[in-house]
């Protein structure tokens, strides 16, 4: 098990968002957290990458183990150095940096000396980014920006790639492209954890699913085997 989250409780100020989340991600697997807006998907991911810290009025309890290392209480830059790359909701590319700089700033040799992803390999997977390498991040289209955030995550040569609602606000044709990208990453054996509102996309790109409601895991199972009435019950579709 590469990631084990046990009884995770998360707070923003006085309000509790997560009520004891349990989840597991196996090496090489693709796992999706699915749920409606505001149920705690993003908070869960932020807890894992160390962005829910006391400085921003956040607090977490419970345990998050990555490769046996406890992440709770660790600053986010150290968590990233353990091999976790984070593609946040809302993209968060650096608008004043060029595409190339956006990639180079994340460049890192993986924990086991892994150098799979270089600028060249990234440009092979995302030829569009090569074309735009000298454009400022802010000049890119939404789809290009999203490609860039995924590419930036890969530049860290991570053991685990965490992605939060990557198709939000994108045109269907770009979503198709992202499905291909994520499938390609899965084929290459990259461990993936995503959060998604779109059921269709979630089922296409994940092997296992956790359905989250009001800060708790209410259902888990293999994506392709989840009965339809489960989705109707929790997601209304």
């Amino acid at each position: 098990m590469i990631l084990e989250v046990n009884n995770l409780e998360g707070y923003y100020g006085l309000s509790q968002i997560l009520f004891g989340i349990n989840l597991e991600v196996e090496k090489g697997d693709s796992v999706c957290l699915i749920g409606r807006n505001g149920v705690g998907k993003t908070t869960t991911l932020k807890s894992i990458v160390g962005q829910l810290n006391p400085k921003v009025n956040g607090k977490i309890k419970g345990s998050i183990k990555f490769d046996g290392t406890e992440l709770v209480g660790m600053p986010s830059y150290k968590i990233a150095r353990l091999g976790i790359a984070y593609v946040p909701q809302g993209r968060h590319i650096f608008p004043t940096l060029t595409v190339k700089e956006n990639l180079l700033i994340a460049e890192r040799v993986g924990v086991d000396g892994d150098k799979t992803w270089t600028l060249e390999r990234i440009y092979e997977l995302f030829p569009r980014l090569k074309e735009r390498e000298n454009s400022k991040g802010e000049k890119l289209s939404g789809g290009e920006q999203q490609m860039l955030t995924i590419a930036r995550g890969l530049m860290q040569n991570p053991k685990l790639l965490i992605m939060d609602e990557i198709i939000e606000g994108l045109a269907p044709i770009i979503v198709e492209e992202l499905v291909k990208v994520v499938s390609e990453l899965r084929n290459r054996g990259i461990t993936i954890l995503l959060a998604e509102q779109s059921l269709k996309f979630a089922l296409e790109v994940s092997h296992k699913c956790y359905i989250i409601e009001k800060g708790e895991v209410v259902y888990k199972g293999v994506s392709s085997e989840i009965p339809k009435e489960v989705f109707v019950k929790y997601l209304g579709t």
Binding site: Y77, A80, F94
Partner: protein, 286 residues
């Protein structure tokens, strides 16, 4: 006004503008990067002047400039530690806290150098005038322009062309994301602060041969810099340059044409800019 007076006034204006630009660039850097307005930057400017004065007497002017830069940089590196608690705080809190530090630094200077006004003795090769195309220029003012420009270019190369600058630019737009890429933002903040304070120190050292400094002057320098900051646009490193030159020229020509009131001109300009273009004269509206 004769041509040579005109040219000399321009030189004086530009040289003051360039030196002030270094101070403003330092303030704007941490304002963008850490979100901190260092109202006490003047203290480090005067610190640079005093270090330059003492080292020049001991070792010569070159060592004075170098020493002022390095020592203020080191002071900046360590002073970042107590300043960390200002992150995300209200600006009133910043004002009081940074000014308290300015008072502390200035009073330490009083303890070391006393209240005496000091001005760095100029080496003989910078004294007097040099004639270029029939116009006589004060040598030291030309050197000031040259040296301050050099520092400004070095700063721009650092900021726009190096990996360190890339980190700084990224931190300015999205600090949390930079941290999530595995980069230790805290240690970069210390370096950013060191550069910011050193820029103030260089400026103070460069200006120190021209006028007598007293330690308590460190407390008012931010006031003189404010118009540049506002006219250029807060956090705008590029916009601060034309703003600094403009204010420098307004000052030098004002001193000739309206000597009794020239000090108020930059502030008048600042108020006008704040009314008609509050984001700054050289900043695009967002």
């Amino acid at each position: 006004m004769s041509l040579s007076t005109f040219i000399r006034t321009v030189i004086v204006g530009i040289s003051n503008g360039m030196v002030n630009y270094l101070v403003v660039a330092g303030i704007a850097l941490v304002m963008g990067g850490i979100g901190l307005v260092n109202f006490g930057q003047g203290a480090y400017y005067v610190l640079g002047a005093y270090i330059c004065f003492s080292l020049t007497k001991l070792l010569g002017f070159g060592w004075g400039l170098l020493g002022a830069t390095l020592i203020t940089g080191i002071v900046g590196y360590f002073i970042e530690i107590p300043f960390r608690r200002l992150f995300g705080k209200h600006i009133t809190y910043m004002l009081l806290y940074t000014m308290a530090f300015a008072y502390i630094i200035c009073d330490i200077m009083v303890a070391i150098w006393g209240y005496q006004l000091v001005s760095t003795p100029l080496p003989h090769y910078f004294k007097g005038l040099v004639e270029i195309f029939g116009v006589r220029f004060p040598k030291y003012y030309l050197f000031m322009i040259f040296f301050a420009t050099l520092i400004a270019i070095a700063f721009f190369i650092m900021f726009y062309k190096t990996k360190l600058g890339m980190y700084f630019r990224a931190i300015i737009s999205d600090r949390e994301m930079v941290e999530s890429l595995g980069i230790n933002v805290k240690s970069l903040n210390s370096i950013m602060f060191a550069i910011s304070i050193a820029l103030g120190g260089i400026a103070g050292a460069l200006y120190s041969p021209l006028s007598g400094q007293s330690p308590k002057e460190g407390l008012v320098i931010f006031g003189n810099i404010m118009p540049i900051l506002m006219i250029g646009g807060m956090r705008n490193l590029k916009g601060a340059l034309p703003a600094a030159l403009l204010v420098g020229l307004v000052n030098s020509f004002g001193a000739i044409y309206v000597p009794s009131i020239y000090n108020l001109l930059p502030f008048l300009l600042m108020v006008i800019v704040m009314i008609i273009k509050p984001q700054g004269l050289f900043t695009k509206k967002e």
